[in-house]
Structures are given as C-alpha cells and as structure tokens.
Symmetry: C2
Subunit: 516 residues, 2 copies
C-alpha cells in the first residue's frame, strides 16, 4: 500500500485525464507523474535520502500537490508547515524533525531570512513560484527541467510518509507521524464507504497543510480523479471556480460554507455540478447545516469527525441523516458512526467502556491511526495507551453507534460541581434566530469555580439582548447549564481549520488550565 | 486491518441486521458475533493456538461462514479444503500445513476414517451438522453452547489468516499463504472501486473453499452486510432463493449462469431484486455474456479476473463495458483494468515490460498479493521474483490499460513453430451459432509437434459438423490457428470453480508437458 502505487495505475490507464487544475493551468496525469518523478530526482540530488524530511511552506497550488507526491516518490517524508504560524513556530517544527529542505512560495519567501537566522540548520529553500527564483533559492521549475525522472522509491506499510504538526492552537506542537499504511487505509476506507464520484473533479479550498485537505489529496490520487485547488479561501473565487470547472466534490468547514451562502454571487453562479459537500469541525453548526440543506438541496451533505492522529476520519454522518426526519430525531447533530475499518469506544478516565448515552472520551483503533508523535515517546505512549488513540474529545454514543460530540474534554466547564458541555449550550443558543455564531466558555468565578459565559455574533439586523438569550436557554436546558453572562461581538477568532479558538477567548479571562 | 475488526463495528452499529441466511435459518450480527466468539473459545480449548491451522471440509452453510470468522477471532489460520478432492489430496493438504482440527459436515463424515488412516496426525474432527454428532466427533453446536465468548485475538497485518491450496487441477497443490492484510486490502480495494450495495443481501453459490467466494465473505463482513448461502449450486434452488430472499448481489462462473438461464424456472421467478452479477473465469464466454445481458437487462454485469495468490482480484471489467458499444469495440472481451490498489504489467520471459498489444505474462503487485507458498521457499521465490506475482496467464494490454487474456501460458499450443492461443480460437468458435461450449487444445502431431484440436458441445438442435466449423474459423483467423480436427461431446469436464479442465482433456491425448 505505497501511496505512489496509484500513480502508476493512472499513468497506465488514464494518462490523459486531468490530474490538477490551478487557475488556468491544467496538467494531465502523464504530465503530473513525469513532473513528480523529475522533482523526486531533484530532491534526491539536493540530499533527500530515504526517510528524510522535506518541508513545504506555501499557499495551496498544483505545485503543492506535486510536492506531496514527489517527496513520497523519492522516498522522503513530508512536513507540511502550517501557514498561519509565527516564525518561532515554523522554526520549532523544522528543527524538531530536522527538516533540511523547504519548498516555499512567494507568500513566504519574506520569512526565509528570519527562519534561517533562528533554525538550527538553515533549510535549503526551493522557490515554487511562477517568476524568477529569488537570489540564493533553487527554482522548482528549473529543478524539474534539469532532472531526469527517477524510479519510484515505493516506500510502503509502516514507512513514514508525513510528519504533521498539531496542537498549535491548543498547546505545544507535536509531530504526528503518519505512515504510508495510515494514509492509504484512511483514504481507501473512505472510498469504500463513500466512493468518490467517478470521473469527478474535487476542489480543495481548505489549506493543504491540514490533514482534511491532504487526506483528500491522497484519496483523489488513489482514485485517479481530478483535483482543482485555490490558493486560499476567497468566497467569490470559490463560487466562480465551482461554476467554471464544474466541480463535483468539495470539503469545507462551516465558516467557509457560511461565507459562500452569504456572498452576493451565491445566487448568480451555477452550482448545479456540485454533488457532494463534506464538512467537518462543526459539532454545533446545526443552523448552518439547515441553511446549507435549504439553499443547496441537490447537494449530498456529509459530516466527518476526525483528527490528525487518525489521518483524519474517525466517523461520518451520511447524507441521509441531513433531512427533516434526522433533524427531528436529533440524528443530524451526530458526527455519525465509526467509519469502515475503524473501531471506536467511549471510555471513562480508567479506559473502561461506558454505557451507551454516557459521556466519556472517544478512543479509536484502526490501520489509519498514527505511528506516534515524533521524538515524543511519553506523549505517544499516553495518547496510544492500551492500543487505542485517545482523542481528548468528549462524546456519547447511542444504541445504534452514533456519536454525539459534547465538547473537547479539556473545554468542559465545571460550574458548582456540575459538568457543563459547551457544545450543548451552544446548540441551544444557535437555535435562537438572532444568533449566527457563538462560543460558550467557562470564566473564573469566586463561588462556582467557573461560570458559563457566552460570546455571541448576532445575525445582521438582529437585536436580541443578553436577557432574551438567557431566557431562551432556560426554556431548553437545566439552569446550571445556562449562560450567566452573554457578550456580543462582531466576529470570533478562528483557527486555520476554521474552528473557533476557544482557548484564545478563554485566555482573555485569566490563566488557562494545563492542556489535557 | 484485522479481519475481525468489522465484527465489532457491526455489533456496535447494526446488531439486529441479518448476518447469515441458510435455508430457513437467519442469524443477526448479535447472534453471529456471539456464536463466533464462543466457537473461537471452543477451538482454543481444543488446542488451537495462535497461528495454528484449522481445516474445514464441508459444503456451503452458515456454519462455514461462522467457522471462517471464529478461526480468525480465536487467532488461528483457516485451511479451507477443496470438497472435490480425493482423500489423498485432502490428506496431502492437512499434512502439508499440519492441520490438527477439522470441521466436517455430514457430506464428508464418511471420508473421516480414510483420512484418519492416511494422515500423519489424524485430525480432531468437529461435526458441523444439524443432527447428533457421530460417535467420536465433537459437536459444533454443543461446543458453542458449552464455551463462553473469548476476546478477539485481533491478529492483523502480516499475520497469517488462510492457507488455501491451489493447483489441484494443474499440478501438485501449493498452500497459498494469505495474511490478514492481504484479504483485508483485497476486499477494501474492491469495495472502494465497486461498493457493495448498502443494506444488501449477497448470495454465495460458488463453494466457500474457493477464494472467489471466501473473498466475498470477507467483503460482506467488512461492509457489515447480509449474506445468504446455498449448500451447493442447484439452479432451481438458486432461482427460488433469489426470489425469496430478494438477493441483490451474487458472483457466479459462466457455467452456473448458463444453467440458470436454461432452467425452466428462469422465466417464472421474480429476479428483479438482483442488481449486480459478477462473473469470473470466463475469458471466452462472450456468447454467454451476451445472453445474460439480454435476459437480465436490469442487472449490472461485471467480470473479474484474479487468482488465489492475489486474494483474488487483479482486474475487473465494469458494467459499462457490457453494452452494445463495448461489444462492437471488443472491450467486452477484456477482463478489465487493474483494480484499485493493484499494479499490473505484461512482461516477457526476462521480466521486461512488453509494448502494449504484445502478448506476455501478467505480473501483479499490491497489498493483496500472498505472502508466499507454505513451506515452499523456492516456488515462492519463483512466483514472486522481483517483487511481482507471476500469474502464468498470458495477456495483452491495450493503450488504456485493458487486459485481454489470451490463455494460460502453459496452455499455449505450439504448432509448426507458431504460437496458438487457445482462447483466440475458442472465441471464434463461440461466435458460430451451433457452438455452446468449446475447448481448444494441442494434441501431439508428428509433423507440427502439436496440432490444434477443438472439442465442442453443440447447442440443442444444432447440427453443424466439423467441416463447417473449420471453415468458419478460416474466415476469421490465420490458417495455422484453425482447428485441424473437431470433436463433438455432450459435456466438458469442469473444475470446482467452473473452469474447463483442459488438462484433463489433454491427458486423453498423451503425456503432459510439465507445469510451468
């Protein structure tokens, strides 16, 4: 199960099918594989040995996808760097896993001097842009032109494919080690359960350094399908590309979907080619999902829950659970059941499985679960104790195996000795017509330890105040779960993956509890 | 990627879904997994340690499927014995891989005395029947009743799952070692490319000791679907079950399909539930496929090519290549393109890839390829030389990667220094309206070494003679490829898998060349 095997198949069967689309540039699989094999040769000539790390710090592009494939073809390991990071964080990840080669695009060339100054080994940089390479940098295109294609290194199984840093938003970054088997089985399991449309074109709008997008790149390559990519999410441009390229599939986070639905071009574009829209990171986005279903009734919606350590999909809620019946039964709020090939349990603090309906931590097992954290044997042993990945996510499971996320366990509010799961309160608030987005956090309180506090972004024109929203909550949930205070803002801070940065919100209210 | 992982998932998500149907007996996944875990406990109590072989010599039944799962759940390795074998062949396989436990049904209890007398270690026998166990045999049902469920051994990856003996029709049997990863990836790759219908019921009509059926058992278990099974193929019963159980999917060999189409009940039964019919072992069954498409127009037909060593699927020709356009283009005669997750090349005798359109040997690579042959390091090294499985099957590949089987390489006829591929001649003969079945073989000839000889079964009422059929061939192919002689018979000898036993036919004409 080498990640490059599928390229040989595409070259043999469908060499003229389009592999990548970026702006006006379209490359067939014949061109794609040729460029990948040449770039792999160049990376080897620049010192990439078997298992050596190659970083990429770039916006999305077709060259990003070529880099992913070329590093694997040449036998290396990819370190896709988070583009939202500070120089200190970037340098940390390069140093941590000893990344000596770094592919950068024009957006990040300006950071190179600072990176070089602080990194233990200043990385050899390759410029992946359209123009002339800046002085001192190798040119991506010149390297491809100058090197002959090399044979596929054909690494597979437990051989390392990626080191992907996580936790930038919730603590000290850890390098998640993903093997060829991990990424291959995550993709093939997903394809088995929800096959890619045949002869379809997928659009990547989320950053490719994130596993949700990178995992989808792998899936499209395995299935031999086409993939279009935008440099970064811009709603008007995304709407235009869906129409122009007749995009069939895409994966977004709820905030992106909301931006599309709210964009003035939404009604003007022909979006009928879109057949499937996957969304993630949305345990409390019920209102958005309803809006999406209403405005894109021909699109199959599915919700996936996952994490980098699972490459990423743990569970998914299929299209049939997005209709009116599922909304009534509550099934539309589930993140679905564990995916094909995956095992999931809900356990207590002693790793004992809890009865259905009881809140506990989601633990996961399967061939898609990471090898561990790079150079962190203790954190690895802790995360994978007993052979199960401990997700840190709190959830219940119903009698049919459906998972309902209640919150990040470490985000749970403990107020007056009672556990309050933010997601439950947020779901109630989102049912109020005035609420567009919200985050519920615990703030320090002299009497209860923590008090439930809601931060709300109102819909345009809505005027509901604190008292009205608190009263609304009291109608639906126990008093101790209701916000004691409500604060209104114009926006909420978001992570690169589009998740609300609750940690940043909490930080405004005082010292943070240690990360779980 | 343990083969038992999916059972945990079914138990968690769909415990009430039907797992197996056999006659009037239906078992839910809850019952199925409970019985499997108890039977696994019994097998362990009877001495099955991790990696120990357990044989099964039985007609198809739900207990056969339970046995497959229980051996894996308990940590053992399955040896599914070919029910068409002589006692000598059975004993060979039991001795060869040291099988000490043997599950037998009533059909094979009578062989036990002879097996015990000749085997190096008389196996401990377990009676899998409905009535009282014969004296001296343990009872399958009593064992399940008497043993508590044990925990899943959860073997996975390269751990051995099956030893499946092949070559009974073409030489000395070799034990193909199939790992958990081999069988799991073969199934998941197939599911990814051509997903099982959701909430579907599959019917097994081929013998479960054969990889085509056993591989399908694994696929249904991984997908958590239902499977019905008949003890053996009887066309009237199969038609009745398709109607009664609303069967959606099945896999057959062409001779079975022909028997169904020719049965008087064919027109009387409601077969509308049938959505997919896979067929294999049919490189020259074009006429049968046309008939099938004409009489079951609502069924998606697909043709798979594979072998035990590949667990089994190497390539498949999808439904869209079964229409009129594909018949005109010749694509309907292809065995398709290499499956998702698999790599295929056509090579010459020195393992160099040949140009498209040139006849050579099919070689295959992928996670589904066997570990090797049990206790046969030389044959293993030979079969897997260079990291590719050498199939012994001759084929061409077209520019789009479609494979066209020309013949078993070792079945090729060499006449007057020219290579004649039997399948090519057979395909021509089958286009004649009088020909129902045929086999073309080489028979010893003083002048040409071998002469091309055709053995033909005529359609009912057809009267065409030798001269007419030879003249028909001369219109289509070169003179040296045309049969010199034609012989008419009422039937052809078939293997358990429904393939024509050419070796048996050839044996009638003199000493055989050594197996390749």
């Amino acid at each position: 199960m080498s990640l490059t095997l599928a390229l040989h198949r595409s070259l043999q069967q469908t060499p003229d099918r389009i592999a990548t689309i970026f702006g006006a540039r379209r490359r067939s699989y014949r061109e794609f594989v040729d460029r990948v094999a040449r770039l792999a040769g160049a990376l080897r000539a620049l010192g990439m040995g078997a298992g050596d790390r190659v970083g990429i710090l770039a916006l999305n592009s077709d060259r990003f996808i070529e880099t992913i494939a070329a590093v694997w073809w040449g036998g290396g390991v990819l370190n896709p760097v988070n583009t939202r990071w500070s120089v200190a964080e970037i340098v940390y990840s390069l140093d941590d896993c000893d990344t000596r080669l770094l592919i950068v695009d024009d957006a990040f060339v300006p950071l190179l001097a600072a990176i070089d100054a602080r990194a233990r080994h200043a990385p050899r940089a390759i410029h992946a842009g359209d123009g002339q390479a800046p002085p001192g940098l190798a040119s991506f295109e010149a390297l491809i032109a100058a090197h002959a294609p090399v044979a596929d290194a054909y690494r597979s199984g437990d051989d390392l494919a990626c080191i992907m840093y996580t936790g930038g938003t919730t603590g000290f970054p850890k390098g998640v080690m993903q093997s060829h088997l991990n990424l291959w089985s995550a993709s093939i399991q997903r394809l088995a359960e929800m096959p890619a449309l045949r002869n379809s074109t997928n659009l990547h709008v989320a950053p490719l350094f994130h596993i949700a997008a990178l995992g989808r790149v792998v899936m499209q390559l395995i299935a031999g399908e086409s993939q279009a990519v935008v440099a970064a999410f811009e709603p008007g441009e995304v709407l235009a590309i869906i129409e122009r390229e007749a995009i069939n599939d895409t994966v977004m986070v709820p905030t992106m979907v909301q931006a599309l639905l709210a964009h003035p071009d939404f009604a003007k574009r022909n979006l009928r080619s879109l057949k499937r829209l996957g969304y993630g990171a949305a345990p409390s986005a019920a209102a958005m999902v309803e809006q999406m279903a209403a405005q894109l009734p021909w699109v199959e919606l599915s919700h996936a829950y996952g994490l980098t350590e699972a490459c990423p999909i743990v569970s998914s809620n299929p299209p049939e659970n997005h209709g009116e019946a599922a909304r009534r039964s509550g099934l539309s709020r589930s993140v679905g059941r564990c995916a094909l090939g995956v095992e999931v349990k809900i356990v207590d603090a002693d790793d004992r499985e809890v009865p259905r309906g009881t809140v506990g931590e989601i633990v996961v097992r399967g061939p898609n679960i990471m090898l561990g954290y790079w150079n962190k044997p203790e954190e690895t042993a802790q995360a994978l104790r007993g052979g199960w990945l401990h997700t840190g996510d709190g959830a219940t499971m119903d009698e049919a195996g459906y998972l309902f996320i209640v919150d990040r366990l470490k985000d749970m509010i403990v107020s007056g000795g009672e556990n309050v799961y933010s997601a439950e309160v947020e779901a109630v608030l989102l049912r109020h017509p005035a609420v567009e987005l919200c985050a519920v956090i615990g703030v320090p309180h002299a009497r209860w330890g923590e008090a439930v506090h809601a931060i709300v972004v109102r819909r345009p024109g809505a005027t509901a105040g604190e008292a009205e929203l608190i009263a609304h909550c009291h109608e639906a949930i126990a008093g101790y779960k209701c916000p004691k205070t409500v604060e209104f803002r114009d926006a909420l801070p978001l992570s690169a993956a589009g998740k609300i940065l609750k940690r940043a919100l909490r930080a405004e209210y005082g010292p943070q509890p240690p990360a779980a």
